[in-house]
Amino acid sequence: MKKEVIVSIIIGLLIGLIFTLGISTANKALNQQKAKKLTTQESGNSLNSSDNNQQKTLTVTSHENFDLINQSEINLSGIAWPNAVIALMTETQTKLIQADSEGIFTFKVNLIKGFNEIALIAADETNTTQTQNLVLTYSTSKIEL
């Protein structure tokens, strides 16, 4: 009788172990599938966003139109599209540079006293052009609220 009980316990233990392992393996497989699905969705989203980024626009991020500045030398920066050629035209200055692989560009601009009309043009080999005009005023006179 004792022998039989021990044998049955061992068999039960083994079968129980097999069941448990089976359940945990199934769980792991399900989790992996979920993770894969999520990764695919995320990469899909990032592809969409990179498509959106390829829209060819020109934005000045460092300054706004009609800004009043108390420094004669400024860094005018912004974002266009990857490797776009950016032209800067002011009354006294012209410059041509290429934006980096993310479309970011920076110009060192020397402002004249008073108001400065600045034109920025982004272009590329496909003849796409985008223009931004800015008026920046350089003055050292004190203005208080």
Partner: protein
């Protein structure tokens, strides 16, 4: 029969105990994960709130601005300026002798909360001269004849005042140009709309130009290749 019952009993007991153990383990894992998630969400929310508050206060704080333009109308407390076909209302915090058709430079503060610009200082300027007719001209190089380059069937003459830059070449000269290079130039136009002067030229080398092979993405901080990495 007895043996069979004992067998079933012990088997069910073991299965139950294993399942219970795993369920408890998973429950503990999931509750810890949920707690961590909740904590992270709380922290992120708090951080976002602080950033939002800062941005809101920044965006609502008065900004120094200077509007220019031709006076279209004047009242005691408001001037309307016109610049490049757009009108800008300027609220006056100072007295001004400005009259209609004067060209003004008004300096003051823009208040984003009520979208109003209040001038603190007003200067009457001479009406600016029309700007020089400049353009960005671009296309592939069709012909190179000494200092004369033909692009889009138009001839550009490079002179000592022209700043020539060829991507990937440090000291660029016309000798480094090749047919089918992509050329971008800032040009001034004469009264007839023809190219008068070429100020700046930027050339992106095409397939015919050996400079196109030069890597342009390397940063200045990039270190030279080590001996072991150099292919001989």
């Amino acid at each position: 029969m007895k043996k069979f019952l004992i067998l079933i009993f012990s088997f069910s007991l073991l299965v139950f105990s294993f399942s219970a153990a795993i369920a408890a383990d998973e429950a503990t894992d999931s509750s810890v994960t949920t707690k961590i998630k909740e904590r992270l969400e709380k922290t992120a929310e708090q951080g976002l709130d602080t950033i939002k508050e800062e941005l809101t206060s920044q965006s609502l704080s008065p900004r120094k601005k200077a509007y220019v333009g031709l006076v279209k109308s004047v009242t005691d407390d408001l001037i309307t300026l016109e610049y490049k076909s757009q009108t800008y209302p300027v609220y006056l915090d100072v007295a001004t002798p400005a009259r209609q058709d004067d060209f003004l430079l008004t300096m003051g503060f823009f208040f984003p909360d009520n979208n109003q610009f209040h001038a603190k200082k007003i200067l009457v300027l001479d009406t600016p001269q029309p700007p020089i007719n400049r353009q960005l001209f671009s296309g592939q190089i069709q012909e190179i004849d000494g200092n004369k380059i033909t692009v889009n069937n138009k001839s550009l003459t490079i002179n000592s005042q022209t700043e020539l830059t060829i991507q990937g070449i440090e000291k660029s000269s016309t000798d480094d140009l090749e047919l089918k290079d992509n050329l971008f130039a800032i040009v001034t136009l004469d009264k007839n709309g023809d190219i008068d002067q070429v100020r700046d030229i930027l050339v992106i080398p095409g397939k015919n130009n050996p400079a196109a092979m030069t890597p342009t993405n390397a940063t200045e901080s990039a270190l030279p290749a080590t001996d072991s990495a150099t292919i001989e």
